[in-house]
Symmetry: C2
Subunit: 435 residues, 2 copies
């Protein structure tokens, strides 16, 4: 007898039981279908890239989290997101792509993060990006897509917060704070986590004068309905070009969202949204579940000036979002919002009562498969064991064929929920399942 | 300006252009849908496993091809197939699974093989297995599934070759060749590649007597219709128990395949099929395309006695198949059988003639998305450029909205293949696309 090795996964890695996996895949399917409905083409880049290429941008926290290894003469790395591979792909194949290039990619990425609940070292990202368009109307498609996906997810109401980095950057310019912009942005980003007093103190430490702090606070606390905020942005009297371009783009995005039938209550202009420090350059998005703020942002993204800067001399603007489904699934499973039920996709289990009816059972299963997924139980075991199996899997119906059914040319349809048995021809079962 | 890094992939890695990716995903979708129709539940194990666990079986050629690396205190490896992770998963979660356990897994695996055309270091495997059933009728489901998938693939006629390792093993026992079985199997496996003379010489070298060689040759050249072969197996007069169990199982598989409506012409008993040396223990399968023998086996698998031997004391039999879609796709693309066409999944591109009709265009796109994938072109460029884009993508229809259309409350539907323009309300376009 061979030695027994304890079956286990490395720390920080995750896999699902069948019922969870079915539910996870159902959600992935919603994302994929909506992405495809909006004309995004699938892309699937390798898990492994050359380290030199993947890390062309260099530096940063992410680099420390990369799974990197040598193989032969190659220095290889597992991708840590889907954006850098997209940049590499677009630069590499730009002559063969049609721009604006719309792609979605759903795939696993790897980061050797400190293991903690809900943070995995391998997780799915579900990304869409449009490369090669400057249009604010394109920016508006992303909230429309988020709206459709989360409506179908049915996790309750949600809010898509929108801002534009040009508004903030222009405002900083106007205040003479451009040099300190990175620090100031980082501090503003904490607005919901720290007290007003600490915020002011940190802004002073970053070199802001009393007047600058006052104007900053006045600005980032602008609130109200979206149209009011847009109006206040006009009224604030800033003649900075960048600021005005940002305000105009926000206006265009909101106008387009109305034409796309996105409910007003789900879209909120929020001047404090920054989404990171140096990456985004225009519209930015952040999505939260109204009843589950503990989950944090469930879908975010934004516009960037030049995707391919590290790989090509051609400048290509882009805009995109990412849904981190693995984390979202974990959090909502914890919160009891996601409740996996069935261990099978089959809606019906077909079983002969004895091996004598095997051929009839296989024939019935064949007919039923034209209508829905079917599971057969053909092992020669007692019918009670077969029904227990159907019950455990969560199959709704059992189609049973014994001597009587075989003689009469029909089957017994058992409703596993009610226990009710009905005799009918297979054709009728098909009609019933199709209805 | 930042330094430009040449965008490229490591040698042996592959990615598709959009049109190829769409076609690849269409084929993956066929596989997934048929797997699900037969009641297989999805599974998705991590790409990374602990080396100690993944290599529990130890040894072999595969071990040299594994991407293995240290991270912190962990010795990690990328999975090289989906069967070992399945064994680990079943052993680890056996208390939570319902047996027979049917799962499908479609995922990437990694092998640092010598790079050559059509052999990738990262490729997809599409596996199904049933764990915990001894039934030959379960064995028959696999050819039925292969039949449905390759019928939908539409790559021309195909043949599913079936054998049973017990027949061969029992025959070897009867001949007193059990000790040399591994060598003899390896030689028989080459029957289509080497001459009859070389075959005989190799068998002699492996220690077979003249009579043993004669009986082996007589046996493995048994041919004819399936029923004839079954009949000849009975007539060959071997009273070995294993041999007879194998012959009986082959009979049961063929009988079940008829009940499952699998065309007889596609299933062929072939006593020379062995599928590797030490892994399979019962039914084995091999599938080839009749008009593309150069592609080799496109789907193979078989039954094994004990999946979880390395991870659990519980003995669980299994049976499964695997489709190596990456290689199949490469070969059929080379052969011109697979011809990617469209660069988008969208069936229609919606575009305003000028920004004035933007809201109308977004509204029309919204309505059309209820029917099919839609791509919008909202950038403010000349209509000629928009139509060129639609043409390059391969979209069938363009829905255009200018001043006249907006005033009349309808759209112009342009058939990109014929060039024909027709004015109609959006609702009629929906009907037309749905038909």
């Amino acid at each position: 007898m061979s030695k027994i090795t304890t079956p286990r996964l490395p720390s920080g890695f995750n896999e699902y039981l069948p019922a969870e996996q079915i539910e996870f895949n159902r959600l992935l399917g919603i994302i994929r279908t909506v992405y495809e409905r909006y004309g995004f083409a699938p892309l699937d880049t390798p898990d492994i890239e050359l380290s030199e290429v993947l890390l062309a941008k260099g530096g940063g926290e992410t680099e420390k989290q990369i799974y990197r290894f040598e193989r032969g003469k190659n220095d290889l790395s597992l991708r840590f997101d889907l954006t850098v591979p997209l940049a590499r792909y677009v630069a590499q194949h730009q002559g063969e792509l049609a721009f604006p290039f719309r792609r979605y990619q759903i795939g696993k990425v790897h980061r050797a993060e400190r293991a903690q609940a809900g943070r995995f070292r391998e997780f799915y990202q579900c990304d869409i990006d449009v490369i090669g368009s400057d249009s604010s109307v394109v920016d508006a498609e992303f909230p429309a897509i988020i709206n459709e996906i989360f409506e179908q997810f049915d996790f309750g109401e949600f809010t898509i917060r929108i801002n534009n980095r040009k508004v903030l950057n222009g405002f900083f310019e106007e205040l003479g704070l451009s040099a300190a912009a990175t620090d100031v942005l980082r501090i503003i980003d904490k607005i919901e986590k720290i007290s007003r007093g600490d915020l002011v103190a940190e802004l002073h430490d970053a070199g802001c004068s009393g007047e600058q702090v006052a104007r900053l606070l006045e600005f980032i606390t602008i609130q109200g309905e979206n149209d009011e905020i847009l109006h206040k942005l006009e009224m604030v009297g800033i003649n900075n070009e960048q600021f005005q371009a940002g305000a105009r783009e926000l206006h265009e995005v909101l106008t387009a969202l109305r034409a796309m039938h996105v409910p007003e209550r789900r879209v909120k202009l929020d001047l404090t949204i920054t989404r990171g420090l140096d990456y985004y350059t225009g519209t930015v998005y952040e999505t939260s579940l109204n009843d589950h703020s503990e989950v944090g942002s469930v879908c975010s993204g934004g516009r960037y000036d030049n995707l391919t800067a590290n790989y090509s001399k051609r400048s290509l603007p882009g805009v995109g979002i990412s849904i981190g489904l693995s984390r979202l699934f974990y959090k909502l499973r914890e919160a009891g919002i996601i409740k996996p039920a069935q261990q099978t996709l089959a809606r019906v289990m077909v079983a002969p009562l004895s091996p004598v009816q095997l051929a009839r059972a296989l024939d019935a299963a064949h007919e039923l498969r034209a209508v829905c997924p079917v599971i057969t139980y053909v092992d020669d075991v007692a019918i009670g064991k077969k029904l227990k199996y159907a019950d455990k899997l969560g199959v709704r119906y059992a189609v049973l064929i014994g001597e009587d059914e075989a003689a009469a040319g029909d089957v017994t349809l058992k409703d596993m929920q009610t226990g009710e048995n009905r005799r009918m021809p297979v054709r009728n079962v098909c009609d019933l399942l199709q209805a």
